[in-house]
């Protein structure tokens, strides 16, 4: 337990640092006002921006817990937004609530299907996850473009807009959705045995098979969850600008999501995972993006800035680094990095 808290200390510290940095550049950075009956302010912006990444990250965490990886999340986001916008755009009355719900439902079912596909390739056919999901990463964006005909599909639907740009009880709906999904995921994994079984599968597939864990079903399940999460993220993304851009939606989000997962203390090799850590990681990444903008770092240097932050963060998180360089003699882990040395 203390171990985990320890790992999250650094992301938290960096997060606070970035937030503080913002004060010097953005006026009233921490001020939250009420504007048009909803909250308005930089912090709210960060939360809203982080919503899709949190969603994708939650799904990614579960996939990574089983020792897999999902590169297709970005494409799935594009597909989901495209499908929803296509259907809604065809409606006579775009403001009809049931019709919009139906469209959203269809889009999510489509994503579910894509998740089933990924899961099938990984768990039944046994293709290595990175390649299995690479297939959908490439083809999925094509599919999304096929749906939109390569155009940006505009919708003019008030209910749909609320998902990404609307407010409920003065709070952004997208943030509420992301929080709800994250909470459900936490409950699902920690209140049922799902978390334990996933960690077992990720920790040692062979051992968990012999312990009777149905690795195949579970592996399949996480890809489905990841795709649905990405689908919801795609809806938020497209609703935010009331249009479906199948090219930009979710572009490169898989890298950010994986980064968020790792910052959150989940090892890419599978095994123990921390959803809370991922959420923190996602918020940190978006804060970083906002900071780059508000500090006004020149376009040319943004990547460098990101690199520096990531390096500092990871080194800070690494006990080995603290021990060797900062000279803090503690937690001498075995020399070998990942697997069991103790015996």
């Amino acid at each position: 337990m203390t171990f985990h808290r320890n790992r999250l200390f650094w992301p938290l510290a960096v997060l606070v640092l970035l937030l503080v940095l913002n004060i010097f550049f953005a006026n009233h950075f921490f001020r939250i006002t009420v504007n048009d009956g909803h909250l308005y302010g930089s912090l709210i912006d960060i939360a809203r921006r982080a919503a899709p990444l949190v969603l994708v990250g939650v799904g990614m965490t579960l996939v990574i817990a089983t020792g897999g990886i999902d590169l297709s999340v970005g494409s799935v986001m594009a597909v989901s937004g495209a499908m929803a916008c296509l259907l809604i755009g065809d409606l006579d009355n775009q403001n009809s609530l049931p019709a919009v719900f139906l469209a959203i439902g269809v889009a999510l079912v489509l994503c579910l299907g894509l998740g089933v596909w990924n899961g099938f390739l990984v768990s039944v056919i046994g293709i290595q996850p990175i390649v299995a999901t690479l297939i959908l990463m490439v083809a999925g964006r094509g599919l999304a473009q096929l749906i939109t005909g390569g155009q940006i599909l505009n919708v003019n639907s008030a209910p749909y807009r609320r998902i990404g740009a609307g407010y409920f009880l003065a709070l952004p709906v997208s943030v509420l959705i992301a929080a709800a999904v994250a909470a459900v995921a936490v409950l699902l994994t920690r209140r049922t045995a799902l978390g334990l079984l996933l960690e077992a599968v990720g920790g040692s597939p062979a051992a968990s098979r012999l312990a009777g864990v149905q690795a195949r079903g579970l592996t399949w399940l996480v890809y489905v969850i990841a795709a649905v999460c990405a689908g919801v993220a795609g809806l938020i993304y497209s609703s935010n600008v009331a249009s479906a851009d199948s090219n930009a939606a979710g572009n490169l989000i898989e890298l950010d999501a994986i980064l968020a997962v790792v910052i959150g203390g989940t090892a890419l090799t599978g095994g123990r995972f921390s959803l809370g850590g991922t959420v923190l990681g996602a918020v940190l990444i978006e804060t970083l993006n906002v900071t780059i903008l508000s500090v006004g770092i020149p376009v040319e240097a943004t990547l460098l800035f990101k690199a520096v932050v990531v390096v500092v963060l990871c080194l800070g998180q690494s006990p080995a680094f603290r021990e060797r360089v900062l000279g803090r003699r503690r937690t001498p882990a075995p020399v070998a990095p990942k697997e069991e040395v103790a015996a």
Partner: protein
């Protein structure tokens, strides 16, 4: 954990009736290890045949040679990636290193530096970057994925900082090499880069099969902790592997700059994924410890062939292009599975 096994090839004792086969089924196993590669080769030939049957002019030898000409840099990058993946790591920075190499080389050449200085400098730069990532990964136990992701940001960031525009290269040496063509009869040709790439492949293959270093790479991929306890030079090898990848990436960058005669910070975007895909399609396990370099060559050819087919098809819209790439990839990988009769990774011994 690992399913495929590789076996150093040796001409001396693999013959039939090898005295080492104490159990009959074992004699056959040696061959079975080559099955994935053979299957890939067969499927590749099949795909090629498909192209020949369907498209006019596809049978032209130049079509095949073009795959090499057009993918020489990818091949070199993928060779470096193979080393990394064999140890169970990954290197996401390669695409960005390619970009950095081309940008910096173009800038320096533009500033009038001689090619004889720029070229080695680029290779040293890539290798150094790789080595430092390796050191961070090994000593500070940072996930390779993250360390090299940071490396990717860094390299591309530097490239952008140097110059965000594309810079033409007009250095004499560069231009000569770039436009040098080795012509055979009937007008078919290859470029200098192809020769360089093939030499790299041969050297790398030899290193993997015939040197202690190469075997240590496999050992680390099989089980890094065991390798350490067995007294292998894990630190040195792991760091070196990233160094090799960095070297290959920068050499790939140089080839890329021969290929386009320009430097640009967005060159090689997504190249890392292509390289990883090529390596994995070639039968190397991402978990490490298993696979051949020859497989990587096949993987690159598969990707190249898919693209050639698309270019010959010439009627696909942008989105169908993507979908068809996905479908072809899928078909290829699934057939590969079926042919080699491998079972699911999860839950098998």
């Amino acid at each position: 954990m690992t399913e495929t096994h590789h076996q150093p090839m040796d001409d001396v004792e693999l013959g039939p009736g090898s005295p080492s086969s104490t159990i009959e089924s074992r004699g056959r196993r040696v061959n079975r290890q080559h099955v994935p590669v053979l299957a890939t080769l067969t499927l590749l030939a099949l795909m090629y045949g498909l192209g020949v049957v369907n498209y006019e002019g596809f049978s032209d030898i130049q079509v095949v040679l073009n795959i090499f000409v057009d993918n020489a840099f990818l091949l070199v990058v993928a060779v470096g990636m193979t080393f990394v993946i064999l140890t169970g790591g990954i290197d996401l920075s390669v695409g960005a290193v390619v970009a950095l190499t081309t940008t910096l080389a173009a800038t320096l050449l533009h500033a009038g530096w001689p090619a004889g200085v720029v070229l080695p400098l680029m290779l040293i730069l890539g290798t150094t970057l790789g080595l430092s990532m390796g050191a961070i990964i090994h000593y500070f136990r940072i996930e390779p994925f993250i360390a090299t992701l940071a490396g990717m940001f860094l390299a591309r960031g530097l490239a952008l900082l140097i110059n965000r525009n594309s810079i033409p290269i007009d250095n004499g040496f560069w231009v000569t090499i770039a436009q040098q063509r080795l012509r055979f009869d009937r007008g078919v040709f290859i470029s200098t880069s192809v020769i360089i790439a093939l030499v790299v492949v041969l050297i790398a293959a030899a290193v993997l099969i015939w040197t202690r270093f190469g075997r240590c790479v496999y050992a680390i991929g099989g089980n890094a902790d065991s390798a350490l306890l067995m007294g292998l030079p894990v630190a040195r090898t792991r760091i070196a592997v990233y160094g090799i990848s960095g070297f290959c990436a920068s050499l790939g960058g140089v080839l890329y700059s021969f290929y386009t005669l320009s430097g640009y910070s967005l060159h090689g975007n997504g190249l890392e994924l292509d390289a990883i895909a090529a390596v994995v399609i070639g039968g190397v396990l991402l978990a490490g410890g298993s696979g051949y370099l020859f497989g990587t060559v096949l993987g690159v050819l598969v990707l190249g062939l898919i693209q050639t087919i698309l270019n010959f098809q010439g009627t696909l819209s942008s989105w169908w292009t993507r979908i068809v790439v996905g479908v072809l990839l899928f078909a290829f990988i699934v057939l590969q599975r079926v042919v080699t009769g491998k079972r699911a990774v999860t839950g098998t011994r």
